[in-house]
């Protein structure tokens, strides 16, 4: 991306787009590229600043070169070098509120590429059960599409995104078609230890799938290189190995000559025409505060689930595209907690460069589908473990993670002994939509642009608490199987579960369904009420399997925008 932070933006009046895409992250980047390669002129509006992932990142810098050894602060929650610019749990001048008794945290990035510059890049596929979960257990709502509808879109999304990993052949964990995945990376020592402990308990542990290249993706305009096995992915990836919109979709879209990107453009509302169709959008220039309007034949919302819901609610009294009353409803996150342990068998283990792909090379997928179907568990939906433990680059924490004792020569021995002898099992589970978890406009609070902000309501149910309790108990069993000591204090699930929003998998606020009665959009993200208004982000999720949502967001966006592009070419829009 050309870096031009200080220059004020023109109102883009010299470019007449066919379609406007609001947002430039996983969904917005995909949407722009799909439309542009179909020959449709696209204007991408991004609320945050321009960002150059090559010039601005600190890939190989050492932790000691940064303030506080690069540790977490409220300014940079994921550490000093994290790629997130102008983002976090709070953004100055752009608040959100929690209803009394609710705790919901909302992570936002105000930068080109949005949250794809920093994300986990863990990309398991949803499986057949995940699209039809209501049919299995009577809870929530089925998607209007099946896994078979999605399978080809997963294949092509994995190819363009670049996913390294392996097929597992496990129940409800679909394989990719031959030739789609790039080769996996060998497991690290601690991952093998976890696998041994898990397998001894009948729990699978298989190669993970991450949006990190292990092979080059050549391209005349936007070449991407294979991982060079150094630097945390969260810092952003200048070589394009770790997927982000700013090194793939956006430059690919620009290379078509059909795309224009406007940063620092905070969209305030969708403008409607007299014909009942979207006529364009209005936005504020973040620097000047001036309002601008742009027209187009179609409007695509990809601002993130909650920001898109807010935009609809701010576009019309009672909410645009809200005849169902579902805008802002059905808000879910992924459930989360972490259990870590010290494994004496891993003390003083032989050193080697253990950076690898930075992400976990193995993964524990949900494995108790049959028990769940047979009613043997007291919670209906699954979880997975993201596993960890290795010779991390030392930073703002003790390398002996709190096991150190005393002082002097003994302490230095402790550091060598305990370094790299820990494992962690991070629970990521499915939350079921409930009537008490949603977002709406706060009746009083407005942001720096004068726009009403979101107020969140949040409540977990026993489904989530029991699932977390099971995840904690099983993680402890794996650690104990390895002769280890659990380091995480044992808390009841109500306290151990991460607060709403904390896992940054919030989806569902504009869900897709089978009719305008039960949903905001059809199976192509097209709003039931406004024919040329398409939602491409995670808002359209009907349910949120424990599997990290971004791959499915991108695959759905491709499917939806392909549909829109076909309709636009045929003159239907």
């Amino acid at each position: 991306m050309p870096s031009d932070k200080a220059a004020p933006h023109k109102a883009a009046n010299d470019f007449e787009p066919d379609a406007i895409v609001v947002g430039s992250g996983a969904a917005g980047g995909m949407a722009a590229w799909v439309l542009a390669r179909a020959g449709i002129k696209v204007l991408v509006l991004e609320a945050g600043r321009d960002y150059d992932p090559v010039k601005e990142n600190a890939m190989l810098k050492w932790n000691y070169q940064a303030p506080l050894r690069a540790g977490s602060t409220p300014d940079k929650h994921f550490g000093f070098y994290d790629a997130t610019a102008d983002g976090g749990w709070e953004i100055a001048g752009e608040p959100y509120t929690n209803a009394p008794g609710s705790v919901f945290k909302w992570w936002r990035s105000r930068m080109l590429g949005g949250r794809t510059n920093h994300w986990g890049r863990h990309v398991p596929r949803f499986g057949p059960y995940d699209f039809k979960s209501h049919s299995r257990d009577g809870l929530g709502m089925d998607w209007p599409i099946s896994y078979d509808d999605m399978a080809p879109w997963y294949d092509r999304t994995e190819k363009i995104v670049g996913v390294s990993g392996a097929n597992s052949g496990l129940e409800n964990h679909p394989d990719s078609s031959p030739g789609v995945l790039q080769p996996p990376t060998p497991p690290r020592i601690n991952e093998l230890a976890i696998k041994a402990g898990a397998n001894a308990l009948g729990i699978p542990c298989v190669p993970s799938r991450y949006a990190v290249l292990t092979r080059d993706i050549p391209d005349d305009d936007v070449p991407r290189q294979a991982c060079f096995y150094a630097s945390p992915c969260g810092r952003g990836c200048a070589i394009g190995a770790a997927f982000q919109s700013t090194t793939s979709f956006l430059p690919l879209a620009l290379a078509t000559g059909k795309t224009r990107i406007l940063t620092d453009a905070m969209v305030s509302r969708v403008v409607m025409g007299a014909d009942g169709k979207a006529a364009g959008v209005e936005y504020f220039d973040r620097h000047t505060g001036a309002a601008h309007a742009i027209k187009a034949r179609a409007v695509v919302l990809a601002a993130s689930a909650c920001e898109t819901a807010r935009l609809l609610l701010n576009s019309k009294d009672g909410g645009l595209a809200n005849s169902s009353g579902q805008v802002g409803r059905n808000l879910v996150d992924t459930t989360g907690t972490n259990v870590s342990g010290h494994i004496p068998a891993l003390e003083n283990r032989p050193r080697y460069n253990e950076d690898g792909k930075d992400v976990a090379h193995l993964y524990i997928p949900w494995w108790l589908y049959k028990e769940q179907a047979a009613g043997k568990l007291d919670f209906p939906r699954g979880y997975h473990y993201e596993i960890g433990g290795r010779f991390h680059a030392p930073g703002a924490g003790s390398p002996a993670v709190g096991l150190e004792d005393g002082y002097g020569a003994r302490l230095k021995e402790d550091a060598r002994r305990y370094y790299g002898a820990q494992i962690s099992l991070t629970v990521r589970g499915e939350m079921i939509p409930n009537a008490d978890s949603y977002c709406e406009l706060d009746p009083r609070v407005k942001d720096r642009f004068g726009l009403p902000v979101l107020r969140f309501h949040w409540k977990f149910s026993d489904h989530e608490y029991r699932q977390i309790a099971h995840g904690i108990a099983t993680a402890r069993a794996i650690i104990e199987k390895l002769g280890g000591t659990v380091l995480t204090p044992q808390l009841p699930p109500e306290e151990a579960i991460a607060v709403g929003g904390w896992i940054i998998h919030e989806v569902g606020t504009t869900r897709m369904g089978t009719s305008a009665d039960n949903s905001v959009t059809d199976q192509y993200g097209r709003t039931w009420d406004v024919d040329n208004l398409v939602i491409a982000d995670g808002g359209v999720f009907t349910s949120n399997a424990h599997k990290n949502p971004t791959l499915t967001i991108m695959a759905l966006a491709w499917r939806s925008l392909d549909h829109l592009a076909a309709r636009m070419r045929k003159g239907e829009v």
Partner: protein, 231 residues
């Protein structure tokens, strides 16, 4: 205790006051505390809040700087340097932490305007004052004037998990936190990384996985636990 302030107490305050002007408030409060300056008594300091700005949500990552001023006195820095040398002394693997500016790192940390760092400041600054007062109460002179054996005698009352001297829990918490910070500061430096054997952050075209020696170590450990090695 009579409730009157004895000379030993006063001396402890005077010593602690050298740590900073905020001790004046603490002294007024301590005058109410009957057991002040008995060995082990934790000073009741009121620290002025750090008002400097942080680095913000969009700092320059390529050329990092610490924007807040350092706040520790030369005496506090000297104490930290001495402690660092005892905490992480030179051995065959790495030099002494006293030679690697760990006192400057602690100063950077406790001077930072963030909640965690401010909480650490509220533990570590009184902790340094406590060390002085404790040495004064026990040996008649402050930490700087104390000999190696005297310092070790104080450390040994607070440094070992589960063996803290009765009534010394807060000083022990101070020591544990300072130890954790000093280890973070030390092991993230090139000398510390070399010591514990972090050998990454080195770009390479291939990542071959664990070497045979590492796998053999793992397998031996698993077999001892009755677990089957896996690949």
């Amino acid at each position: 205790m009579s409730g009157k302030i004895d000379r030993r107490t006063t001396l402890a305050w005077v010593t602690a006051a050298a740590a900073g002007p905020w001790m004046q408030d603490a002294m007024a409060q301590n005058a109410m505390a009957p057991d002040a300056a008995q060995p082990g008594t934790w000073p009741n300091m009121e620290l002025p809040p750090i008002t400097a700005r942080g680095y913000g949500s969009d700092p320059n990552l390529v050329d990092p700087t610490v924007p807040w001023p350092l706040t520790l006195s030369p005496a506090q820095r000297a104490m930290l340097k001495t402690i660092a040398g005892m905490m992480l002394p030179a051995d065959g693997h790495s030099p002494s932490a006293a030679s690697l500016a760990i006192d400057a790192f602690i100063d950077e940390w406790v001077s930072a305007p963030y909640p965690q760092q401010q909480a650490d400041r509220a533990l570590i600054l009184p902790g340094l004052a406590w060390l002085d007062a404790e040495c004064k109460a026990r040996f008649g002179h402050d930490f700087a004037a104390a000999g190696e054996e005297e310092r070790r005698a104080v450390f040994d009352d607070i440094a070992w998990r589960g063996r803290e001297k009765q009534g010394y829990q807060t000083p022990a918490r101070f020591f544990a936190r300072l130890r954790g910070l000093m280890m973070a500061g030390f092991y993230s430096l090139p000398e510390g990384m070399k010591d514990i054997g972090y050998i990454g952050n080195a770009p390479s075209t291939e990542w071959p996985g664990p070497p045979q020696q590492a796998l053999a170590h793992l397998d031996a450990g698993l077999l001892k636990l009755g677990l089957r090695p896996v690949r």
